[in-house]
Symmetry: C2
Subunit: 231 residues, 2 copies
C-alpha cells in the first residue's frame, strides 16, 4: 500500500517553539538566582512541570503556573509579588509571540500537498495552537488539523479511524521521537524524525528503546524526497 496521508507536527517542526521556552527558562533562572544556582533552577522547574502535567496538560499556561510554583518554593516564599507578575508577563509574551516558520516549511508543504493528504497533528493548549495555526497562514493547505491532549498510539489510531486511513498508508514527521515517531511506529505507520536544535527534557527518550524502523532527516525540506523513496 502506498502512503496517502502525511501527518506533520507543528511546534519545532513547522515553527519555532522550544527556543521561546528556553529564553524564558533563562530569564527564570536569573530571576530565582538569589535563591538557586541556575542549573538547579532548570532542574527544579522540569521536575515541577512533569509533576503538574497530569493536572495542567501541555502548554504555556501550565508552564507559567509551574514557574510561579517553583519560584515560590525555591525562595521559601520570600520572592516578591512583582517578580511573580513578571513571570505571568513572560507567559503572555510567549502566548502572543509571532509565529516564526522554520526554513523551507512553506515550499515543502506546497510540494507535499500536491501528492498527499496533509494533516497537521499537534498537542497542547487548544487556544494557543489554534492561534498559531491561524497566524502561520498554513491552515488551508491541510485537509485537517488535529489538536490532541496527548500523542499516544491510541490518539493516533483515533485520528486515522476518523479519517478512514489505514496505518500502513500513514507517515508522521516531527521533531519528537517520543510524540511523533515512537507511537506511530507502534501502530504500524511510518515515522520520520526531524530533530530541532533544542529538546524539552520531558520529550527525551533513550535511543536504545528504538527499533531501527524510523527515518531520520536533518531538515523538513528533505521530506518530499524521502517520501518518493518509500512508495
Amino acid at each position: 500500500m502506498t502512503i496517502s496521508t502525511v501527518g506533520l507536527d507543528a511546534d519545532d517542526t513547522l515553527w519555532h517553539s522550544e527556543s521561546h521556552f528556553l529564553v524564558t527558562e533563562q530569564r527564570f533562572g536569573a530571576l530565582v538566582s538569589p535563591w538557586l544556582p541556575s542549573e538547579e533552577a532548570a532542574e527544579k522547574l522540569l521536575t515541577r512541570e512533569r509533576a503538574n502535567l497530569e493536572v495542567f496538560g501541555y502548554g504555556v499556561k501550565g508552564f507559567t503556573l509551574s514557574m510561579i510554583e517553583t519560584a515560590i518554593e525555591a525562595s521559601g516564599g520570600a520572592i516578591p509579588a512583582e517578580a511573580l507578575q513578571q513571570i505571568v508577563n513572560w507567559g503572555k509574551e510567549m502566548l502572543s509571540h509571532p509565529v516564526d516558520l522554520l526554513p523551507g516549511v512553506e515550499a515543502t508543504i506546497d510540494a507535499l500537498a500536491d501528492h498527499y493528504r496533509l494533516v497537521l497533528i499537534t498537542k497542547g493548549d487548544l487556544f494557543h495552537q489554534e492561534s498559531k495555526i491561524a497566524e502561520s497562514g498554513l491552515a488551508e493547505r491541510f485537509h485537517h488539523v488535529e489538536i490532541l491532549s496527548e500523542k499516544s498510539p491510541t490518539h493516533y489510531r483515533r485520528v486515522l479511524d476518523r479519517h478512514g486511513v489505514e496505518p500502513s498508508e500513514f507517515l508522521m514527521a516531527g521533531n519528537s521521537l517520543r510524540s511523533d515517531v515512537l507511537p506511530v511506529i507502534e501502530i504500524g505507520s511510518y515515522g520520520v524524525h526531524i530533530p530541532y536544535g533544542i529538546i524539552w527534557g520531558h520529550e527525551r527518550v533513550d535511543r536504545t528503546e528504538l527499533e531501527p524502523s524510523w527515518h531520520h532527516l536533518d531538515r523538513i525540506t528533505d521530506l518530499p524526497q524521502l517520501l518518493g523513496t518509500l512508495v
Copy 2:
C-alpha cells in the same frame, strides 16, 4: 426536515462547573479582603479575565493566572508569595475536582441516544474538558465530542459541515444563551436554553438582543419531550 442531531453543551448543562468557580471566587474575595471590598474583588477579577481571554482563552488555568494578577495589582504588590501559592492550589483543586452530573442527565442522554445522533460540544481547555468527559462516563453515548476554543456561528458551521449535518436538522441545548443558543439560531438551527443557577458575567447577554426563536427549558429532563413536539 426533522431533527437528526442534538448538540449538548457540557459545563453547567451536564455537570456542575460555575459553582466551583463561584466557591473559588469567594475564597479569592476573602484572600484579597485586606486590600479590596469583596464586591470590588469580583468585579476587578472579571475585568481582568475578560482582558486576558484573547491571550489565555477559556478555562481554569487562565482563570488562575487572572486571579494571581488581580491579587498582585489589588495589593500593590504587597500580597505574600504564599497567598499566591494558595491561588495556584485552588486552580489545581478545580482541575482535579470530581465531575458532578446534574440531576437526570444520564437518563435524558439515554432517552435521546435512541432517536438522535448526539454530539457533545464544549469550549475551553482541551485537557481539562477531555478529563471531565472521560470521568463522566458519558463519552461513549456521544457520536462525537467537539472541544472548541470558541462557540461562534463559524465554529458551529464547521462542526456541522464536518459531520455532514444541515443546520435545519440540528438542535443545540445548553445553559449559555451567548454560546449555546444565539450562534446556532444565527446559522438556522434550533437553540434550547436550559439555564444553570449561576451565570458567569462574561456569558451574560441582554435579553432584548434575542429573537423569540429559541426554546427555554427549566431542566434537561424536559428535552426529549420538547424534541417530540418539534418534529
